[in-house]
């Protein structure tokens, strides 16, 4: 005898006459939630928050704000805290050296969630609510294309961590970057594959703008290097598992995996690959974005710290690991250990994080330009950034804000050289560096195991 199927007929259903309508309402509501909220918070770490809209000259003695416009939540949420740590470090050193023209500097976080749709209102809100805004840092590839025109339009200086190629073709007078175009970083990844003698590689990149920008140049460079593309998987960063993608990678038998899929995507994918590959980890080649305490912590938790460390390489911009510039940088940054909201994992990893190093240099360059121009107004001090970075004839080389500020006050022309090495701004205000190969130790310490010459990268260029 058939018994009727138990049904729970919700009273809600008749009101929304069709389930499709209820579904529509629910999905709309979830989408609203997923779009989420953007947030910004002042971190008084180095002098309290500031007031007044950006672009103008600050009132005497008031604090100047350095805004960290970057993802603090979402899949790339580990990037914002890296930049914030460096902001705390740089501004604390600047404030300890007397500040800038009588002003202390303070840092403020502006969460873009890594989404242009969230970034634009967040930046507009930042301009509306932030007094004495003197500098913007961060602006990753996730949001740079949408926020740089706004920031530039407000005549605000920005040091951005984007490698997007469009910024090498379009001139934004207030935009600066100390990182190379993404295509060069893609070449660096392929050069590491050559270094590891890989004959077949799998590509596994996230479906976000910042990750997808590597794919085309990597494919082109792999072809030039004679390396076979075993499979090319695009990962939905909001997915919770990647078993099928991992299975496709394992079945394609690559010698190495080129990947950038931040958040929980890469750790999940790599753990699933290990599981499907009988416990063996395929060598992983990451981007410089993987050099962060948060990424190491997540990947080490997913694979085991020793296993991950033994199988992971990443390209990274060459940064100094000794010398006066590094000494000043490490002292400034490590003095902020335990004080930076959102920082996690081994704090010393921030010393090698590309954003950390280069944005430290960016903040110092901007602060020194303010002193040189005797103005905190971006439109006035911006041109002096290049003079200080590239140096002028007879410029005195200096390695820290304190030393450079003293030299400026003594009437000397200076050339600042920070832990990111010498700066050479081009006409688009880009100063590409050169690359090194990094690995992790099981404790999360970053080790430099090789360098990639400009000739190596040129040989892979399309």
């Amino acid at each position: 005898m058939n018994t009727p199927t138990p049904r729970l007929t919700p009273r809600f259903t008749p009101r929304l006459t069709r389930p499709a309508a209820a579904l529509g309402a629910a999905v709309l509501a979830v989408a609203m939630s997923a779009c989420g909220i953007t947030s910004s918070s002042s971190s008084g770490g180095s002098g309290g928050s500031a007031g007044g809209s950006g672009g103008g000259s600050a009132a005497s003695g008031s604090a100047l704000t350095v805004a960290d416009v970057a993802p603090f939540s979402g899949v790339d949420g580990s990037l914002g805290p890296i930049y914030l740590a460096t902001c705390y470090g740089a501004t604390s050193a600047i404030n300890a050296a007397g500040g800038v023209l009588g002003h202390k500097l303070a840092c403020k976080s502006v969460d873009t969630r890594g989404e242009p749709a969230d970034a634009v209102p967040a930046v507009n809100q930042m301009f509306a609510s932030t007094s004495n805004l003197a500098l913007v840092i961060g602006c990753t590839s996730d949001e740079a294309a949408s926020v740089v025109p706004i920031i530039n339009g407000r005549k605000m200086v920005s040091f951005c961590m984007t490698g997007q190629s469009e910024f090498a073709h379009v001139h934004y007078p207030y935009f600066y970057r100390l990182v190379p175009p993404d295509l060069e970083e893609a070449y660096a990844m392929v050069a590491i594959a050559q270094h590891l003698h890989a004959k077949r590689v799998a590509l596994a990149f996230g479906n976000d703008i910042g990750s997808q920008t590597f794919v085309a140049p990597a494919l082109s460079a792999l072809k030039k290097a004679g390396i076979t593309v075993a499979t090319n998987q695009t990962l939905d960063l909001k997915a919770t598992t990647f078993r099928t993608e991992a299975s496709a990678i394992v079945q394609s038998h690559p010698d190495a995996i080129l990947t950038e899929a931040l958040g929980s995507a890469d750790p999940t994918l790599l753990a699933e690959i290990k599981q499907l590959n009988n416990g063996k980890v395929i060598p992983i080649i990451g981007t410089s974005a993987a050099i962060s305490p948060a990424f190491f912590k997540s990947a080490a938790a997913a694979l085991g710290a020793s296993t991950f460390a033994a199988n992971f390489h990443a390209d990274n911009l060459v940064t100094e690991s000794s010398g006066p510039a590094y000494a000043a940088f490490s002292k400034a940054l490590l003095s902020q250990q335990g004080k930076v909201p959102g920082s996690t994992g081994n704090f010393t990893t921030y010393l090698s994080a590309p954003g950390g190093v280069h944005l430290y240099d960016g903040i110092n360059l901007a602060a020194l330009a303010m002193i040189m121009s005797k103005s905190t107004t971006p439109a006035t001090y911006a041109p002096d950034i290049i003079k200080i970075g590239n140096g002028v004839s007879g410029a005195q080389l200096c390695y820290s804000f304190a030393a450079c500020a003293s030299a400026l006050k003594a009437g000397h022309a200076i050339r600042y050289e920070g832990p990111g090495g010498p700066t050479n701004f081009d006409s688009y205000h880009g100063s590409p560096g050169i690359f090194q190969i990094d690995t992790y130790s099981p404790s999360g310490q970053v080790n430099v195991v090789g360098n990639l010459s400009a000739a190596q990268l040129r040989a892979l260029a399309g």
Partner: protein, 288 residues
């Protein structure tokens, strides 16, 4: 072919996790009349509670009962302290949906404030990998499928044979009539929140185990999959949610094998839209 079979196997695991969550969600919706979009947030809070206990040295499986009890109690409180007062003030269903969105943000950002924005993983060995034909599953994944089957069987027995199940069905169908028949609908609704909250906690932990690595916002998209499974099966239909979960789980993984992997959820929603176009009330929903 082997990739297809592997994808089907992976789809079964996804479906198993989805089924626990979707059946709990649809029971909650069916009986209480609240489309509780904070369900995913409670799930992730449960997953993080298990993580904390796991970090303290407890195995994830041992932490499971604690999480189940906590999420059950939390869901009852959620109803009594937030949704019920709104309902008593005559809030419309769509108002409650918006309230639940607010609760979602509060819970997720609360978890993020406490645990940080980075992803975490359980200390849990996956056990041996078992291969049969093209299927590749770990012992833990098989355990997840087993847990899901036990839960589905339990829900079936409860709804069909227990007094509580009959009372839940009566309350869902017509609460006024149920009250007139002597059913204490208030108590039934509270019990439903407790049971579905427990299922939500269980779903959160198996979600965390299955994902391998998760963050405070990891269930945002998973909630959409839960909704898809629920509405594919027919809202309020426990068996429909099971069927919907199976279809969505397998469709996402199989499509990832043969179409660009980042479109796997798109394929699942195309299936959902086609289905709703043909049967607006869902696979097992009553015809209008």
């Amino acid at each position: 072919m082997s990739l297809f079979l592997a994808a089907v196997g992976f789809g079964l695991v996804t479906a198993a996790v989805l089924a626990i969550a979707a059946v709990g969600f649809t029971l909650q919706f069916g009986v209480t009349d609240v489309l509780n979009l904070a369900y995913g947030a409670v799930m992730i809070a449960g997953a993080f509670l298990a993580y904390v206990l796991n970090q303290a040295g407890l195995s994830v499986w041992a932490a499971l009962p604690v999480v189940i009890v906590a999420c059950s109690a939390g869901s009852v409180l959620l109803n009594s302290r937030i949704y019920t007062p709104f309902k008593q003030r005559g809030a419309s269903p769509i108002t409650l949906v918006i309230v639940s969105l607010g609760v979602t943000l509060i819970i997720e950002f609360g978890v993020q404030a406490l645990a940080g924005g980075t992803s975490v993983s359980y200390n849990l060995a996956q056990g041996p990998t078992l291969r049969a034909g093209g299927l590749i599953l770990t012992a833990v994944q098989i355990a997840i499928i087993g847990v899901s089957l036990v839960v589905m069987a339990g829900v079936h027995v409860m709804l069909r044979y227990s007094k509580l199940g009959k009372a839940m069905r009566a309350t869902a169908a017509n609460p006024a009539l149920a009250r007139n028949c002597g059913i204490r609908t208030g108590r039934v609704i509270t019990t439903t929140w407790a049971i579905t909250g427990a299922m939500c906690g269980l779903a959160g932990v198996v979600f965390g185990i299955d994902a391998g690595s998760f963050s405070p916002t990891s269930t945002d998209v998973f909630l959409v999959l839960i909704l898809a499974a629920v509405f594919l099966g027919g809202p309020g239909q426990a068996y429909g949610a099971m069927l919907g979960a199976a279809v969505i789980g397998i469709a996402t993984e199989v499509s990832a094998a043969f179409i660009a992997a980042d479109y796997k959820y798109v394929v699942a929603f195309v299936v959902l839209l086609l289905m709703l176009g043909i049967r607006p009330s869902g696979l097992l929903g009553a015809r209008a």
